[in-house]
Symmetry: C2
Subunit: 365 residues, 2 copies
Amino acid sequence: MMPLDFRSVPDFGLAWLDASGPDCDIALSTRVRIARNLQGYPFSVRAKPADREAILSTVQDVLDRTPPVANGIFVNIDRLDSRGRLLLLERHLVSRELVGQDGSEAPSSSALVASSDQPVGLMINEEDHLRLQSLTSGFSPRQTWGLVDSLDEELGSQLPYAFHHEFGHLTSCPTNCGTGLRASVLIHLPGLVLTKEINKVLQGISQVGLTFRGLYGEGSEVVGNLFQISNQTTLGKSEEDLIDHLQKIVGQVVEYERQARAVLVRDATNVIEDKVWRAFGLLRHARSLGFDELMNLLSGVRLGLSLKLIAGPRVYVLNRIMIFAQNAHLEEAGGAGTLSGPELDIQRAIYVRSALAEAEPSPGS
Amino acid sequence: MMPLDFRSVPDFGLAWLDASGPDCDIALSTRVRIARNLQGYPFSVRAKPADREAILSTVQDVLDRTPPVANGIFVNIDRLDSRGRLLLLERHLVSRELVGQDGSEAPSSSALVASSDQPVGLMINEEDHLRLQSLTSGFSPRQTWGLVDSLDEELGSQLPYAFHHEFGHLTSCPTNCGTGLRASVLIHLPGLVLTKEINKVLQGISQVGLTFRGLYGEGSEVVGNLFQISNQTTLGKSEEDLIDHLQKIVGQVVEYERQARAVLVRDATNVIEDKVWRAFGLLRHARSLGFDELMNLLSGVRLGLSLKLIAGPRVYVLNRIMIFAQNAHLEEAGGAGTLSGPELDIQRAIYVRSALAEAEPSPGS
């Protein structure tokens, strides 16, 4: 497996944008990752450069014998420039740990591996030695887990995992110990927000072992009515039980959101229709757009599409905007150097206008 | 001169909308009116129905010999339905006094007369027996005064005006005594508002005998950065002096506004461009628009046109929207009965969208 410039792979990590998955009018994507560590090496926080190099080398040696990542994409994170690392972060392909805070430095011997035909891969030398991960369209915990589980079986048969008969998989941070599994669904809940039911729902999920975060994971704000709902604990249950539980509870949240949207259509169609079209009007014409405002406006249009109050643009276009209107993507597209905050907002508005111009909608039914 | 259904005259009172007058990128219209009363009759507040009938009859007798209103339009206000009276009010052709509070009743024997080929006419049995008036495009106090003055000479030569050698023309309200003249310019001052110079300018004009009001005259709020600047006093100066003074002072305000716009373009083009296009985006796509919000959004687009930040719609289209997106005009166009507040806002948005769809703009230079 050879190093590759991921920029030469135009659709790298973007398969989920096509909105082909289940319940994709409400759930944008499902992510599953598991943390694994190799026996005989210190955890990443204590590992010396030589340890990290050895870990990378050990893993690289088996990749070519590991479907489905054999013949896949291999990216040396620490050899990427800062913008390259931020691009991967903005595509949700690497964690903030892996690119270093604000992308300015990357841990040595860190790498990203991805299958070239399936949405599955792994990070090497992140917070844990290995983070196996999959990101798919819509609401599909079981399918997504299946992809990660298969990769885990292939790798685990070739690499000596750090495993304790009582605690299960050992991890750098104790909160990941056991299964090492974190499964999350990125879900759009404007109905529950507008009907003011959202707090009740979020309290409910926290009482059954789930938690929520914003778009960019731990500690990030909720913008655009987008919530990442994931399992809180990783220990004491099997992977299958954790996935089934997430499937069941988030399935209920999806159902609540559907009911809330039905209430909105029944009781406040005019208000919602106005809100949706105003959001579209601002996206289509604004000359400067902050990222948070963009996410809130996209939320309005996304809701309108789901309720058939607006016909077009496709959800795929909205998903693409979420990725390509981020700072590093705007800078990369511009080709120039770093942009200031106001310059980014202007470039963001230009990008959004052009993306929507290709998909001019007509009034919905 | 025969009574006429003004609704059959599609451009009645709308000539000024064409934005053909001087400085029409800043001044929307100029209005001049003079108050006159007939000798031998009580002022309107004390006049009995028989007096009012006699006044109407006396005036009607001479109209056919009075160019330019001979062969013009004659409307019996008190025979109009409520919506008809409100339509005239929304076109700024009659005062609130003449249509009765909220249009629900009209004073007896009240009438509106208008030339069919010049923007000049008169109200009969308003607060004064006669109110001669003219409304023209742009900033043109002298020309507009000329139209009213000519009509005044024609009428005055045939009707015995109540005139006192010391006080001049006698009027129902002492504040109109003397010349009976009120000249006003409807002026759009977003530059002075955005650069926060407006209060200084308004204080300045009040120190030189001028005053300002909102779009609907005395007591009305300023919306959409539209100010009606008029002379405060009517006594102690000749009509020509009052008009010259207004011409001079408002001319300065126009110049200040031009300077403020130049500052905005120099220091904040991006911010202003964004503001302009956001306003356009909302007008073009909103599904519900309150009248005040509409005026504020139109102000943004009007400013953008003037600064060439947006190419189209024409000022004529914006002026038309100001008139036809008013409540009575929306109800008249809909043909149905009275509309509720939310229904009006929806109809207003529908009208605005269709008006702008005919004039889709392209980015400015």
